[in-house]
């Protein structure tokens, strides 16, 4: 398989560390604590403060200039929003479909691209390229390509007398179409992480397996797959979080439409902001925050535990 040898040396850096103040305090950072201040201030102002004030504003009906405290009214109303259930269902479908596809395709591509393939460098660049393109640009490009009547894709299909689906105008297809584009755009990152994971597997394992007469499938099943599990955990967590809170691509391609058929929670909330329902949409964001946390904590716990078991 790969020729990259493992160079991690167990006897790590040997230079004796200088005695510093922080060293005497116990351990840790070579930097003085006030180095944290700029980042801390930024974090407080732009993250902590808005997050905590949003918990309060979710309980009010507010405009930019005034606010009325209404208790849990916004939450009650949020759950009566048109097609909210569909938004939730769509969010999960979108999150799980894109995440699963990125894991499978990412791993397959990573195996291909770490093997001795012809034109490997070029193919790596091709796979990674979509990651570098602006999401909105990708969305608009695919919208043009997939146009049901004038788009290149359907014209080609028509030339071969194949059915020409309304990719993003058919309510049953719209969400999956966007998910497909999301996979195309995001699989490069997953591939990259898997490649790093595969390259880090010590080559001795592969050599030993070959000597024992293991075939490609056995090597993959019993060596590569278990040992890329940390990489897989990273890919799953990143793509699942990304999928659950995805918005930009959906908005660029369908605006959540036709009707509400490709609406996800984030686009439902965005539309409420757009309509000027600030309190209502803040409540929606609080709910989204809780839901994503409720899903991601167990997932992360599960994946990390498996990693430790290995």
């Amino acid at each position: 398989m790969t020729t990259a040898s493992v160079t991690i040396d167990p006897a790590a850096p040997t230079r004796a560390p200088r005695k510093t103040k922080s060293d005497r305090r116990g351990m840790r950072s070579p930097y003085p604590s006030w180095f944290y201040i700029p980042a801390g201030v930024l974090y407080l102002i732009f993250f902590a403060l808005p997050t905590f004030s949003s918990f309060y504003f979710a309980l009010t009906r507010w405009t930019l200039f005034s606010q009325t405290f209404i208790g849990f009214g916004n939450f009650v109303q949020f759950f009566q929003t048109p097609a909210l259930t569909q938004g939730f269902v769509n969010t999960f479908i979108y999150g799980f479909v894109t995440s699963a596809a990125k894991v499978v395709l990412g791993l397959a591509l990573a195996l291909l691209l770490t093997g001795a393939t012809f034109g490997r460098g070029y193919l790596r660049a091709v796979v990674f390229f979509p990651v570098l393109v602006s999401t909105v640009g990708v969305g608009l490009t695919f919208k043009a390509l997939l146009d049901p009547f004038h788009g290149v894709v359907n014209q080609v299909l028509g030339f071969f007398h194949l059915p020409q689906p309304g990719w993003y105008t058919d309510p049953h297809l719209a969400l999956l179409t966007v998910a497909g584009v999301d996979i195309w755009k995001g699989v490069g990152i997953a591939t990259l992480i898997f490649m790093a994971g595969i390259v880090a597997i010590p080559s001795e394992y592969f050599e030993a397996a070959r000597v024992d007469g293991a075939g490609s499938w056995n090597v993959f099943r019993n060596i590569t797959l278990p040992l890329v599990r940390p990489a897989m955990a990273t890919v799953i967590i990143l793509s699942l979080i990304g999928g659950l809170r995805s918005f930009d691509l959906i908005w660029a391609m369908t605006n959540g439409g036709p009707g509400f058929s490709s609406d996800v929670i984030a686009s439902v909330i965005y539309k409420q902001y757009q309509a000027g329902f600030f309190g209502l949409s803040t409540a929606g964001n609080v709910i989204l925050f809780l839901v994503v946390t409720a899903i991601m904590l167990p997932v992360q716990w599960l994946l990390n535990r498996r990693e430790a078991d290995l």
Binding site: R61, Q80, T81, P82, P171, G257, F260, S261, Q274
Partner: protein, 443 residues
């Protein structure tokens, strides 16, 4: 280049200060009008569709010729909900253009005119305004807007040639309308009986919003009850429910163009003018597209009211024109120039430009302007309904509440993902949210 730590700190401080200065410089610039010197520049914001842009450019050109000391810079933004959002953001962050062009009625009310706009009650053109129009640009008796363009009607635009060929007559009930559409379909399968164009999502609302005159004819108190949340004036109840039923009916009946989910408003207008389609529920304002693209075909198109299930109630829904407003951030010379610009649009010269560049869509809302003698034929159809007292302003001019999700809900209803019943319920919820956000009593 190596810098000592002191130097580096000094350089960083200088850089931060420069950025901060630049930022404050930007925010104070452009909107306030304490401009010295004789040349004044004002900005004018309008929507970016082709007819509006053409008209605005012509207006600015003529204005600058008459007032050589004033330069008007044209800014554009998208129409629809996206534009509404931008408009509100610009007003609340005080970055709005000096003069801006926007809807009258409920959308105007949602901009909080008392704090965001300049009171124009004292201007000379106010006395010429039609009283209905004056109402829809006023808050507490103060006038904030001047009309630009004509009023328009929301009805069924139809190709007269097709109606003549097939010997069809103007339907006065909804059933007659469906019967006509079926005849068109049987006569020539290549002609679309009814156009829908959800590529522009706002166009999905016509069968509901354009039905309001019929509701109003049956129950003249409906708009008041709706605003005050009384007497079951809801979209789930008749008479208002019929609009949702009509929207749900036409696609399954096979009367709509195949590409209804992606067709745009301009494409639909072209199809109607060229006779590849026969009828289109639409605002007469969209005739501007035909005026620009196929001016020789404009008289092939007529308009009739969206038929009520009962002929005695069938009447035409009217939209007041959009208006020009001045943002409250404008002062000094810029305010003077902005007022001159608004007044110019309603002067005889301004009216002439409006007649020349914007297709008239119905009568003017100010006596300062009048339609030219060669106005397109369909404006006479509109006038006939007004003369017969079979017309009413749309709901958005009689009530401040309009739910923001109507267009999306109706697309779901039309394409069959939601039933008419559920769609109407959803819209009632949407209306409730809007009423509460506006702080209206009774919700």
């Amino acid at each position: 280049m190596k810098l000592s730590p002191m130097r580096r700190a000094a350089a960083a401080t200088a850089a931060i200060a420069a950025v901060a200065l630049a930022l404050t410089g930007c925010s104070g610039f452009g909107s306030t009008g304490s401009n010295s010197g004789s040349k004044v520049t004002i900005t004018f914001l309008t929507q970016n569709d082709a007819p509006t842009r053409t008209q605005s450019k012509a207006l600015i050109e003529a204005f600058e010729k008459k007032y050589p000391d004033v330069t008007v810079k044209l800014d554009t933004q998208p129409p629809g909900t996206q534009g509404d959002n931008l408009m509100k953001t610009k007003l609340s962050t005080k970055t709005m253009d000096n003069v801006f062009h926007y809807n009258s009625g409920s959308l105007f009310q949602a901009l909080n005119p008392k704090t965001s706009m300049v009171d124009l009650s004292g201007e000379s053109w106010v006395k010429d305004l039609d009283k209905n129009f004056k109402q829809v640009v006023s808050v507490d008796g103060k006038v904030y807007g001047a009309p630009l363009g004509t009023s328009s009607a929301g009805g069924i635009l139809y190709n007269k040639k097709i109606y003549q060929q097939l010997g069809l007559s103007i339907p006065t009930t909804w059933d007659e309308f469906i019967a006509n559409s079926n005849k068109i379909k049987t006569a020539d399968p290549n002609v679309t009986p009814i156009l829908q164009s959800f590529g522009d999502t706002w166009t999905s609302q016509l069968l509901v919003l354009g039905d309001f005159a019929n509701i109003n004819k049956q129950d003249p108190n409906w708009a008041t009850d709706y605003t005050e949340n009384k007497n079951g004036a809801k979209y789930v109840n008749q008479p208002a429910f019929e609009g949702f039923q009509h929207t749900a009916q036409i696609v399954p009946a096979g009367l709509v163009n195949k590409d209804y989910a992606s067709m745009t408003n301009a494409q639909a207008m072209d199809a109607l003018a060229n006779g590849t389609a026969a009828q289109y529920p639409m605002l007469t304002g969209s005739m501007a597209t035909v005026q620009q693209n196929e001016p020789d075909k404009i008289n092939d198109i007529g308009v009739f009211a969206i038929p009520s299930p009962d002929a005695q109630y069938t009447s035409l829904t009217l939209w007041e024109p959009n208006a020009l407003y001045i943002s409250s951030t404008t002062s000094g010379d810029k305010l003077k120039a902005s007022k001159e610009f608004v007044a110019f649009a309603n002067s005889p010269q301004g009216c002439e430009i409006q007649n020349k560049t914007g297709a008239a869509a119905g009568p003017y809302s100010t006596s300062a302007c009048s339609l030219p003698s060669d106005a397109p034929a369909f404006t006479k159809d509109v006038q006939k309904y007004i003369d017969d007292d079979k017309a009413s302003p749309a709901l958005e001019f009689k009530s401040p509440i309009k739910g923001p999700n109507l267009e999306t809900i109706l697309i779901a209803v039309a394409s069959g993902s939601t039933s008419a019943q559920v769609g109407a319920q959803q819209y009632d919820q949407d209306v409730k949210a809007q009423a509460q956000q506006l702080g209206i009593k009774g919700w």
